[in-house]
């Protein structure tokens, strides 16, 4: 059997066409078949999953009402804590960590009836754009295994694209949901900052991190977001805003919606194949009755340096907790070693190169003599960037741009030059800096024998995921891309 969408799976379970245990076994089998090739999962929790699915079937047999995600197999990025389930953030430093508590999103998924099947591979501590920074090896793209699935949530994107699960969670600090969604031909949502609780997400850059879903349709993304969103007393930055039923947003009607296009910003450095797909997406939105509006985002060209100055500064502080004392890897010490030696040797052994690079950069920009010139300056330009977006939203209801300026690249192609890797994040990072919601939707493929997916993103006003999802869904209904299936 094929695992299709979360909605279809729930419907089949509720109507008795199939049991949650059968669905769960199908998911586990698919993971077993594909993981030797894709390396999308760090660990699978088969027994736990079967037990959860069994309890869903028991609830149905007892005539209980089933939740909106009843029996839906879900994969979680391995930086999300599940009580008692190994959680590594794909880092050696957390190789043995078993969290004593679960993330709020885990509780929300499980109360909606979802069945967690495993933890997905990612760039170490979510730092990377190709999944090559994992201590457990890279994930491979289900469309062409020599290519990257994107990052940092590459395993979650690949798991959905390979139909191991219809729903997976990732985290997006500078594009880590949207870019791998684009590279793997699936839908990926980064909600508004504060829309979803971050409690139990291993922190990377706390003013930017946000958890969101990967799915094979915008409709499933809306379903998942409704289950995930809401105020959480355990995360003081989670929002007090009311949570609408995002499914109600999917009317298919976008007549009169003003779609902002930052023409100057997307004019340079975009690969031709991406440009053609993006222009095609604009035509579809026009055909559906939307109005295209030219907008300016004058400070968006500074988004990369601003993002990398701020996220590394926050990371250097957040990752100070990994010291060999409280959890994870600890370097052996001799009698004469000091506490500082224990810390610094443990951290050198436990962290990979990209994590060390970012901790170093962040420590530098926060240090005496450089704070004003780099960190404070970046925070001020962040304000100007937010104002650019506010101004743009006076004339536009959503903003669209490519998700990535380039199609999926080959593994190993960019690992020698970190700056070149950073530059490819140009269209995703500004959305996190401004706290806006964004969704990446498939919009085409590269040419050739092994076509690779291309995506574009729809960016909404803060807390207006409704309009954003309506536009993305209307686009998806009019195009064949989301229905394409990866050959793996």
């Amino acid at each position: 059997m094929t695992l299709t969408t979360a909605r279809e799976i729930r419907e089949a379970i509720v109507s008795g066409k199939i049991s949650a245990v059968e669905i769960c076994r199908a998911s586990l089998t698919r993971i077993e078949q594909t993981n030797p090739t894709l390396n999308a999962f760090n660990h699978v929790v088969a027994e736990r999953a079967i037990a959860q699915a069994t309890s869903i079937d028991a609830r149905r047999a007892a005539g209980a009402t089933l939740g909106p995600l009843a029996g839906v197999p879900v994969a979680l990025k391995d930086n999300l804590c599940v009580k008692g389930v190994r959680t590594t953030a794909s880092s050696k430093i957390l190789d043995t960590f078993h969290p004593p508590y679960s993330a709020t999103v885990v509780g929300k998924l499980e109360s909606a009836g979802a069945v967690i099947v495993g933890k997905t591979n990612c760039d170490e501590f979510a730092m990377g754009s190709s999944n090559e920074n994992s201590a457990y090896g890279p994930v491979r793209n289900p469309w062409a295994v020599e290519h990257t699935p994107g990052g940092s949530s590459g395993g979650s994107a690949a798991a959905v694209a390979a139909q191991c699960v219809p729903l997976a969670l990732g985290s997006d600090t500078g594009g880590s949901i949207r870019q791998p969604a684009s590279f793997c031909g699936v839908v990926g949502v980064k909600p508004t900052y504060g829309r979803v609780s971050r409690y139990g997400l291993l922190a990377f850059a706390s003013s930017l991190d946000q958890i969101g879903p990967f799915t094979r349709s915008v409709s499933d993304a809306a379903l998942a977001l409704s289950a995930l969103a809401g105020r959480d007393p355990m995360d003081s930055t989670s929002s007090l805003e009311a949570v609408p039923d995002f499914t109600d947003a999917l009317t298919g009607d976008i007549r009169g919606v003003r779609v902002g296009v930052p023409r100057a910003f997307v004019a340079d450095g975009v690969d031709n194949v991406v440009r053609r797909a993006f222009d095609g997406a604009l035509d579809v939105l026009c055909d559906r009755g939307a109005t295209l509006v030219d907008i300016e985002l004058p400070h968006a060209r500074y988004a990369i340096p601003v993002y990398y100055l701020i996220c590394t500064a926050e990371a250097s502080s957040n990752l100070a907790r990994y010291d060999g004392v409280k959890y994870g890897h600890r370097s052996p010490t001799s009698k004469d070693d000091t506490l500082t030696t224990l810390y610094s040797r443990t951290r050198d052994e436990g962290f990979g190169a990209e994590v060390k690079r970012r901790i170093m950069l962040g420590t530098y920009v926060l240090s005496h003599g450089y704070y004003d010139a780099f960190y404070l300056k970046a925070q001020q330009v962040r304000t100007l960037l937010r104002r650019d977006y506010e101004r743009a939203y006076e004339v536009a209801d959503v903003i669209v741009m490519p998700t990535s300026p380039i199609p999926p690249f080959k593994l190993g192609e960019k690992t020698d030059d970190p700056l070149q890797m950073y530059l490819a994040d140009i269209f995703t990072v500004s959305v996190n800096l401004a706290g806006l919601p964004g969704v990446s939707v498939p919009c085409g493929f590269t040419a050739g024998a092994a076509p690779l997916p291309i995506g574009f993103q729809v960016i909404g006003r803060m807390f207006d995921e409704v309009t954003m999802l309506r536009v993305a869904d209307a686009y998806e209904r009019a195009t064949p891309w989301a229905k394409s299936v990866a050959p793996v």
Binding site: H98, G328, S344, K377, A378, T383
Partner: protein, 98 residues
């Protein structure tokens, strides 16, 4: 301002960050961090006179009153420690005071 980075700078930052880098890592990071900082210097060209800094984008006041509430059990909190004594609620570390 123009950023130059020496191996001594990298050693100083590594010490601040509690990272014991190898000689190869120091050499690599001296070059890579200099490249990244040279690129990041472009933000200094932006006129930010009178512009407030954005530290976060929260739309609401996220402060709360400081009231003790039930939290993680001590033994559970220590259970992951590579050299912990959960029953005593302690972590073991190298000697701090001589």
């Amino acid at each position: 301002m123009s950023t130059t980075l020496t191996i001594e700078d990298v050693e100083r930052i590594a010490k601040l960050a509690n990272l014991e880098l190898t000689r190869e890592e120091k050499a690599l990071f001296t070059k890579q961090l200099a490249d990244i900082l040279a690129y990041a210097e472009q933000v200094q060209a932006v006129d930010t006179t009178g512009v407030e800094a954005t530290a976060h984008v929260n739309a609401h006041d996220s402060e709360r009153s400081d009231e003790p509430k039930p939290s993680l059990d001590v033994a559970e909190a220590v259970a992951n420690a590579p050299d912990g004594v959960p029953e005593a609620g302690l972590f073991r570390v190298p000697r701090v005071i001589g």
